[in-house]
C-alpha cells in the first residue's frame, strides 16, 4: 500500500502499546495481540474446476484447502476456506502487489474457463486481526463462540466463520510451536467491542497484552 504511514489501526485509540509485553506474563493463561493491516484477498470461483484450482495453487503456493481448514502457502501467506466457492488469502501487511498479480492472473483464467467465472476482492481493510493465544484460549473463546473448539473438533489449521459474542469473526487456528493460537479476523467497526469483550472474559484466566506485530 502506498504511504503506509497514513494507515491507522482500528484499535489505535486504545493505546495498547503502553500495556503490551513481548511474552505472556507469569500466571497469565491467555494473551491478546492486535495485528492490524494484514493483507486479505477474497477469492470466489469453481472449486471443482481443475484449471481454477491449479491457478490458485500457482499463485498462492497451496492447493485449495478442504472445508473448515486453512493451509499455509508461499511466504507467510495462508489460504482459508470460507465456503464451498469462497476462500481468503491472508498475508502480512502491504502486499498489495499480490492483488494485482492475482487480478491479472484471474482475468486470463476467466477467459480460459468456459462457462465459469471468478471474483477477487481486496478486503485487507475490511478486517483487522486479534490474536488469542495461551492454554486457556479455547475456554475464553467458548464464552462467546457457539462452535466446538475442542482439538478433536477444531484442530490446528481449522478455520470457520462464526460469532464471538455479538461480533462476526473468521476464526483461524494457527498454533505456534508451543502454544494454542487463534486468529480472529473481525470487521474494524467491531474491533473495539470485541477487544473489550475478550479482555473482560479473560479476567479469570489472567490476561497479557502482547506487542503488536
Amino acid at each position: 500500500m502506498p504511504n503506509a504511514h497514513l494507515r491507522r489501526s482500528p484499535l489505535a485509540q486504545l493505546g495498547l502499546g503502553a500495556l503490551a509485553t513481548e511474552t505472556r506474563g507469569p500466571g497469565h493463561d491467555v494473551a491478546l495481540r492486535s495485528v492490524p493491516f494484514q493483507t486479505a484477498i477474497n477469492l470466489r470461483g469453481p472449486a471443482a474446476d481443475e484449471r481454477f484450482a491449479r491457478a490458485v495453487e500457482e499463485l498462492v503456493g497451496t492447493s485449495l484447502p478442504p472445508a473448515c481448514r486453512a493451509l499455509p502457502g508461499k511466504g507467510d501467506l495462508r489460504l482459508l476456506w470460507l465456503g464451498p466457492d469462497e476462500w481468503l488469502a491472508v498475508a502480512p501487511p502491504d502486499q498489495a502487489h499480490l492483488i494485482g498479480v492475482m487480478e491479472s492472473a484471474f482475468d486470463v483464467l476467466e477467459r480460459g474457463l468456459s462457462g465459469q467465472h471468478v471474483a477477487i476482492n481486496d478486503v485487507s481493510d475490511n478486517y483487522t486481526t486479534i490474536e488469542v493465544s495461551g492454554p486457556r484460549s479455547i475456554d475464553l473463546l467458548s464464552k462467546g463462540c457457539p462452535l466446538d473448539l475442542h482439538p478433536l473438533a477444531f484442530p490446528n489449521g481449522g478455520c470457520a466463520q462464526s460469532l464471538v459474542a455479538k461480533a462476526e469473526v473468521i476464526l483461524d487456528r494457527d498454533d505456534t510451536p508451543t502454544e494454542l493460537r487463534f486468529r480472529l479476523m473481525v470487521r474494524p467497526s467491531f474491533a473495539e467491542y470485541l477487544w473489550a469483550w475478550l479482555s473482560d472474559a479473560a479476567q479469570e484466566y489472567g490476561l497479557s497484552v502482547l506487542t503488536s506485530a
Binding site: 500500500m1 502506498p2 504511504n3 497514513l6 494507515r7 491507522r8 489501526s9 482500528p10 489505535a12 485509540q13 492490524p36 493491516f37 477474497n42 470466489r44 466457492d85 465459469q116 467465472h117 471468478v118 471474483a119 476482492n121 481486496d122 478486503v123 485487507s124 481493510d125 475490511n126 478486517y127 475456554d139 467458548s142 464464552k143 462467546g144 463462540c145 457457539p146 462452535l147 466446538d148 475442542h150 478433536l152 473438533a153 459474542a165 455479538k166 461480533a167 470487521r187 474494524p188 467497526s189 467491531f190 473495539e192 467491542y193 470485541l194 473489550a196 469483550w197 473482560d200 472474559a201 479476567q203 479469570e204 489472567g206
Partner: protein, 1012 residues
Amino acid sequence: MSKPDTKTMARKYRLAEGGLIDRSKTISFTFNGERLTGHPGDSLASALLANGKRLVGRSFKYHRPRGIVTAGPEEPNALVQVGRDPATDPNLRATQVELFEGLTAMPQNAWPSLEHDVGEVNSALSRFFPAGFYYKTFMWPAGAWETYEEVIRNAAGLGKSPTGKDPDRYDKTYAHCDLLVVGGGPAGLAAALVAARAGARVILAEQDSRLGGRLLSEPLNEIDGKPALDWVEAAERELRESPEVRVLTRTNAFAYFDHNFVALHEQVTDHLAPDERPSALPRQRLWKVRAKQVVLATGAIERPLVFCGNDRPGVMLASAASSYVKRYGVAPGDRAVLFTNNDGGYRAALDLLDAGVRVAAVVDLREEPSGPLTDAAKERGLRILANHAIVGTKGRKLLTSVSAARLSADGKSVSGAPQEIECDLLMVSGGWNPTVHLFCQAKGKITWREEIAGFVPETGGPKSLACAGAVNGVYPLGDCLREGQQAGVAAARTLGMEVTESTAPQAEGQDFLPARWMYLVPSTAPTGHGGKAFVDQQNDVTAADLLLALREGYRSIEHVKRYTTTGMGTDQGKLGNVNAIGIVAEHLGKPLPEVGVTTFRPPYTPVTFGAFMGRDVDALLDPLRKTPIDSWHVRSGAAFEDVGQWRRAWYYPKPGEDIHKAVNREVAAVRQAVGIMDASTLGKIDIQGPDAAEFLNRVYTNAWKKLAIGKARYGLMLGEDGMVMDDGVTARLGENRYLMTTTTGNAASVMGHLEEWLQTEWPELKVYLTSVTEQFATVSLAGPYARTVLAQLTDIDLSPNALPHMCLSEGEVAGAPARVVRVSFTGEAAFEINVPSSYGLAVWEACMRAGEPYGITPYGTEAMHVLRAEKGYIIVGQETDGSVTPIDLGMQWILSKTKDYIGRRSLKRPDILKSDRKQLVGLLTENPQTVLPEGAQLVEELKATPPMTMVGHVTSSYYSPNCGHSIALALVKGGQAKQGEKLFAPMLDGGRITCTITSPVFFDPEGERLRA
C-alpha cells in the same frame, strides 16, 4: 422476651458425632437479625435446625408459620433473602444455601416480623380467600386491577428485588461434550465413570456442593465392599483427574431444549464469604451445553402426605430428617413421630433412634406394616400404630402433638376416638416422585407405574437421551449403579467408542415397598372442615381448594392448576403435584394417569437474571460500531446518534450552540461553501460476474444493462410485496463488476436478501457477491467549494466534463488509493471519496486542512437529513415503513416497463393502484417558523376533541435555513392530487398547526446546483 442462649441450643440439637461437617471450625451467620453459629459443611437449613430454629418463614397467602420441610431444592417453605441490598437474592432455599462466615439471611413474607405477623389475619379469614379468589374478587372495575395488584404483591410478595445495580460479575459460556450426565449420585457417577474410561468428553453436573446424591445421607451403604462415601471419593478423584471430564458441582441443570441443548447454572462463588471470593471469578456461570448424549440421573424426591395440619413447623419429609441426622449431624427435633405409607419411611425412624432421638410412635397407613425396615423397627421396639392416620396436629409456632385415628375398613374415613401423641417432629413419607422434569422438557413421554405410584420415563424415549436410577423408579442402590453403568456404556458405544469394562459397581439395597397409596388422608371431619390439608405449601393450596375447583366445573389438570395456583410457586410443584393429581383423579373417579400431568417447563429451580445476561451488560450489551474517523468526531465534540449498531456524528455544536443553531450553521455551510461528512457506514456490496447487470436488473426496479463503465445510477429495491425495501447508488467499475451501496441500517439485510435470491431462485446467474462495507472509508465533500478543496489533494481530473454528476474516477487522494464518485444526497455538487478504511482518518484530516480557507464545515446526520429533505429525497425507514410503494412516493419514473424485477407483480394489485393510498407530499406550515412534529397525524376536518378522521402523518420535518421556512414531508391519503389543500395537525395540548400540501421538492427543483 428473653433471648435463648444460642450456644446451649446449638449444643442440644447438634449431634456429638457423625455427618459431613467440620466441627473443629465455627462459622458465624445471621438469620432474622440474630447471630448464630454453624460449621463448614452446614446448609443454612441444617445450621438453623442445629440452633433450634424451627420457625423459618411465613406462608405466601395466609402467612401461616412454616418450618423446614426438606433438605433439598424442593423446599417450599424455608425461602430466604440472602445478602444486603443491592447484592441480595430473594427466594433462595435455605436447604441449598451453604453456610459461610458472615452470611446474612432474612425470612420472607413476614411483616412486621417472623414471630408477629400482621398478615396472619389472612389465615383467620381464610374462608374468604378460596381458590380463584383473585379471579372472583378483582374482576371489576378492570382499570383498578393495577391498584389491587400492587396491594396484593406487597402482602404476598416473595422476597424483595434489589433496588440498586447488581455489583456482581456473571459469566456465560458454550460447552460441548460427548456425554452430559445430570446428577452426581450413584447412577450418575457410574455412568460418568464408564464413559470417561472409554475416552468420552464428559460433563457431570451436580446441583449439590458434593457428589454422592442420596449416599451423602445414607453413608452406611457399601459399594464394591467399600463404604459408599469412599467409593464416591474415589470416583470423584478419578473423574477430576480425567483430562476430558468436567465435574461441575453447585450446578443446576435447569432447562433442556431441542437437540440435547441443556442449560446449566453454576454457582461459582456464592458459597464463599464475600471477602474470600476471588475477584477475577464470576459469581455465577451459565453453561450452554450441546451434548451428543445425555444421561439423566436426576433421582427422586420424597412425596409428602396430605393430611389436616400438615404444614405446621416441625412437619418434615422423612428422608430430610435422615439427611439432617446423617449428613449434617443435627437432630431435627426432640421427640419424633413417623407418619408413613411405605416401608422406606422407617429408615428415618431408625436413623433418629441411632442418633439418640426419641421416636414416640410410627403411624402407618398400611393395614399390616411389613418390609425389611419395618421389621427392623419392630425389633427395636418402636410403637407402631398400623392402619392409622394422622387426623390433626397442634402447636402454634412449633408442633406440640399429633392426633392419630384408626382407618375404617375401606380406608376412606377414620373411626374411633383419635389419640394424641406428643412430639415436636413429624416425619412424613408418602412414597417417591421420580424427578422427570428434564426428561419431560426434552419432550420425553412419562408413564404411571402403579406399583411404585410414580410417573417414570417411557422406554424408547428421545434418541441420545437415557435415564438411569431413581428417575426411572429404580430405587435399590445396586440397581441404580447398574443402570447408570449401562447408560454410560450405551452412550459410549453409540459414540463409536470401545468399552471393555462390563461389570457395574456392586451393592446391596432395597426399594421402599410395600406401600399403601393414599393421596388425601381421611380425617375426622370432611375435607375443608376442621383444619387445612395442604397440597402445595408454597402457594397455600389445600385439598379443599382442589375440590372447590372441581365443584366449579374445572376438569383439566392444567385448568385446576391455574385456578388454584397449585404447583405454580418457585418450587413448581416438586412436592405437591402428584398428590394434587391423585386427589383430582380420586374425586373424578378416574384412574390417576388419565388425569395426566401438567407441563414441565424450565427452569427446574430459579436462575438469576444476572446469569442469563452474563457479561452482556453496560458497554458490552451490544457492539457500538465506530467508523475509522470516529476518533476525530469525538475530539471535535460531536454529538452522536445511534444508527443501528453504528455510532454516527449527529451534529458538531460549537460553544453555546444547541442542536438547532448547530444544524442551521452546518446546513448553510453546505449550500454556501463546503461541508464534509463521514459516510463510511453506508453498506457496500461488490458484485462480479458476467450476469451482474442482469442480476441488478432483477433486484432493482430500473434498467441497468446500459450503464456505462465508470458511471453510477440510483436504484430502488422492492420486496416481493412491492413495498420499498432499500435504495442506493450502484456504480459500474468494470466490464462485469459493480459496487452497490445500501442504506446504513439495511446493509446486512440487503446482503441476505440478494444472496437468498441468487442462491435459491437464480442459481443459474453467474454472479458473486462480497460484502465490502468496511473495506472503504467514505468522506463526502459537498457544496460550491467541494471541487476546489478536493482538487488540492488529488491527481484526478474533477472538472464537470471529466467527472460529471453520477460518474466516478480512480486515483490518489491525500496519498491514499481512492475512488471518487460524483454523487449527491444534498442537492449540491458533491464528491464521495472512498479510500481503504485504514486511510480514512488521514484523508479526512487532509480534507479539513485543505478546506480550512474555504470554511469547510463538518456536518452530521441531522444536517444531512435537512439537506436531503429540502430536495425531497426520501430516507428508507423514515418516509417508508414497509407499507409504501414507489407509486406512493411519486417515483413512477424509476419503474421499468420493459423488464421484470422483484415486486413488479405486486404493483399491479388493485389495492396498490387505488388513488386514496397514502402518498408522499410536501407540507408548508401557515406560520413559516413553526416546525411540525414528526409523526403528527393530519386531518382535513378539525373537531374540538378526538376522534377525528386522520388522513396522513408527518414523516420528516425540519427548519430549512436555506428556504427560510420550515419544511415537512408527509404521507397523505390521495395527497398527490391535493396540492394546495389545507390540512391540520391537532396537537396534544389542544392547539393545531395549519399547513398546505405542496410538492416535496423545496430547493433547487431543477437540480442546477447538483450538476455544477
